[in-house]
Subunit: 437 residues, 2 copies
């Protein structure tokens, strides 16, 4: 099946940053086969989509989220130490079915905002992978390992077993990459961290992990190991395979040097919205980018970042890093769109997405420009970063398949996804309300 | 005409912060006459609106914007010193008709995002007032005085005359308050600043002004006057009548003390999005609020803040001030909604709006909760600040009159507003493009 998307402003995000102000993209099956400026003799195809002067760009890549946590949204947003006071206790009420329903809903939300691939970290990750498959998205799916009893395992031995079975089951999936997700350097013991890296080597599985997010994490490592969490992980071999580190707020100079020397499969998932909402700080992203470290953008989970779209994150990246560096020229819009697309794809190891070029997979997002906030447009990147919001996304393709059309999910019904999720949330809601009076 | 809005989660924003989770509001003509929890014997009225569990709150108040500047949106966002390099030169191409068309469009954008009243500062302010009247909104409209030739006046003498005629023409309007808008302490000379304060006294007209926005403004005053711009303005009598100061980024301790002692008609329009996008800094709002200084939120113009909705601003207020103060409890969602509604109304001197209470004017906004980002809702304030965006606004009333219904303008057509604006932008666009190659 061949599809032609015409009359669009194409931001290819290729190495030359080619733009076609009146352009087209031709899809054949899963692949992009041609991209260029509109011309008279466009090929005859099965389906023609008129983009009506919308902006077509590579699908957004959300490099860090927790799809299972939709039930936590708007719960205790402004309380201190929410992780230990709210999230950990309530996660006891997460069930296999609840994680599945939450993930399907979260994927619906991401698709409607133009996110075509992401990196997830949660429990019952087999259910997450199933929901991803059902919804048709591309993802790195990481089973969480943490040094305490969880909703899916009595102890780390159990979760390591769960994880190993999970890695075996999902490897070689065309759209999904199963991964291991140790929670954080200070919530996993050294012995488990070693087992995790061995498991990663055995299955060539990526690792994704919260790193240098918490001030108390930094203190604990300074006291117990006289080194940073990052240096500790590196010494255990964590840089030898794909390693996606969320947050990295508290990197020091030595850490940045370590990352500069690290292989390109080591990357940072920058979650500006969640990090600043929780007053944790602003990661040194300018320094990382100057040193060529790979950085993608992440929303974090719906409890921490609240929404799962990258528009909110892009605007915050601009404002926080311009202000931090006292320079309005820093982090121009085009660079930020690059972080949200091409760099994110590289970070997750999806070598055939992130740009609009022939022979790439067709992960695409169309942003309409008819809404009131999208006029005028002198610069399409500026419009995306400073004006657009999730509601401007009108169409989305993943791997050549259209999943959003006219701002609606094509193969799923949002009301049904919500109803299903709400039904599974019954006990969770009762327990949550006990804690919010 | 009586209207009943039922099945809504009412955030009254009254002094007791009363919420009705399943509530109603009764409007009679321009006024709110009753608000409460849903009950069986609700009165029979002319029109019943089922809010379908949406959140009903007082209309948002945008305390600082430049409606005439829609043509500048997405133009040179990331260049240094844009004001003097881009904005001033291009403003030569603003015409009376262009300001009118831009303002009508900007009001359309604000209404669609739930902004029911605002404070404007621009040129040809008579056209701004006319557009406000046509669109049916509540506003403080300020004619700009600046020490240079402008699009509406050859010199300040001319603009002071224009302004005086403008103040006479619009005083006693039921929804509009004409005002004087000196551009900034460093772009008006001392002699003009004195004439402006005299004009304000003569007509009891508010003054709105950019104050302590620029680092070079601070330097100039330190060198020339050995005092801050704020102290200088106070010494000229600027605190004697209503005075709405935009930005106030660089306030020092003495400035904050001055504001603490100032009468309640002196207020700050905090424009976090514009201030941080331009890397100017973060105003000391926590300190102001602790001292009881009146602070509202502003989007700034579409060139600086890009969008005219307060959702974007509310989220940035949370993230920036929590991070600045290293405290995730600071600026809880409820406080931020208060700044965006009740406090904004107080700042602009609209004593009968800003809360949902009997005998207040019906300026209301309904935020739907069916969209994917609005579930679940444990806390309605959190949902507004951390999850909602402009597209969630489904209905808006100003002074009892419904201006937005089912996410569309009721009395205007957005496509027509855009077409009209685009036509007037012809020369502006050509000149703008010369400067962006």
């Amino acid at each position: 099946m061949k599809t032609l998307i015409k009359n669009v402003h194409v931001l290819t995000m290729d190495d030359e940053e080619t733009e076609y102000k009146h352009g087209f993209v031709l899809i054949d099956g899963e692949d992009i086969v041609e991209v260029g400026a509109m011309r008279a003799d466009l090929p005859v195809v099965d389906e023609v989509i008129d983009g009506q002067d919308g902006i077509l760009l590579p699908g957004f890549v959300n490099t860090h989220t927790h799809c299972g946590m939709i039930p936590f949204r708007s719960l205790g947003d402004d309380v201190p130490d929410r992780l230990r006071r709210f999230l950990f206790p309530l996660e006891a009420y997460m069930t296999r079915k609840l994680v599945h329903a939450s993930t399907a809903y979260a994927i619906g939300e991401m698709l409607l905002s133009g996110v075509t691939s992401f990196c997830d970290m949660y429990y019952f990750e087999d259910e997450v992978a199933r929901a991803c498959e059902e919804m048709g998205v591309r993802a790195v799916v990481g089973e969480t390992i943490i040094d305490m009893e969880t909703c899916d395992s009595k102890n780390t031995q159990e979760s390591l077993s769960y994880c190993e079975a999970f890695l075996k089951k999902w490897k070689n999936h065309p759209l999904l990459t199963p991964a291991i997700a140790p929670h954080a350097p200070n919530t996993n013991n050294a012995s488990d961290l070693k087992k995790i890296v061995a498991l990663s080597q055995k299955y060539q599985a990526p690792i994704t992990m919260h790193v240098e997010e918490m001030d108390y994490e930094m203190q604990e490592f300074a006291e117990n190991y006289q080194q940073t969490p990052l240096a500790f992980l590196e010494s255990l071999g964590y840089f030898e395979h794909r390693f996606i580190m969320a947050h990295c707020i508290h990197l020091n100079e030595a850490d940045i040097k370590l990352l500069t020397q690290a292989p390109k499969h080591v990357s940072v998932a920058h979650c500006i919205g969640a990090n600043t909402k929780s007053a944790k700080g602003v990661a040194p992203v300018k320094e990382l980018l100057e040193q060529g470290v790979l950085v993608g953008l992440g929303t974090d989970g719906p409890s921490s970042g609240n929404t799962l779209d990258l528009f909110t994150q892009m605007r915050m990246v601009a404002n926080f890093h311009k202000t931090k560096n006292h320079d309005r020229r820093a982090f121009p819009a085009k660079e930020i769109v690059k972080l949200a697309t091409k760099n994110g794809a590289k970070a997750l190891g999806f070598s055939r997405v992130g740009t609009i070029e022939p022979n790439k997979k067709a992960d695409l997002v169309l942003v309409e420009t008819k809404s009131v906030n999208m006029f005028p447009i002198f610069d399409a990147y500026s419009a995306l970063v400073y004006s657009a919001n999730a509601s401007n996304v009108s169409a989305v393709w993943v791997n050549g398949r259209q999943l959003v059309k006219e701002k609606q999910l094509v193969h799923a019904n949002l009301d049904e996804l919500r109803e299903k999720l709400y039904k599974e949330m019954d006990i969770f809601v009762k327990e949550a309300k006990k804690r919010t009076v």
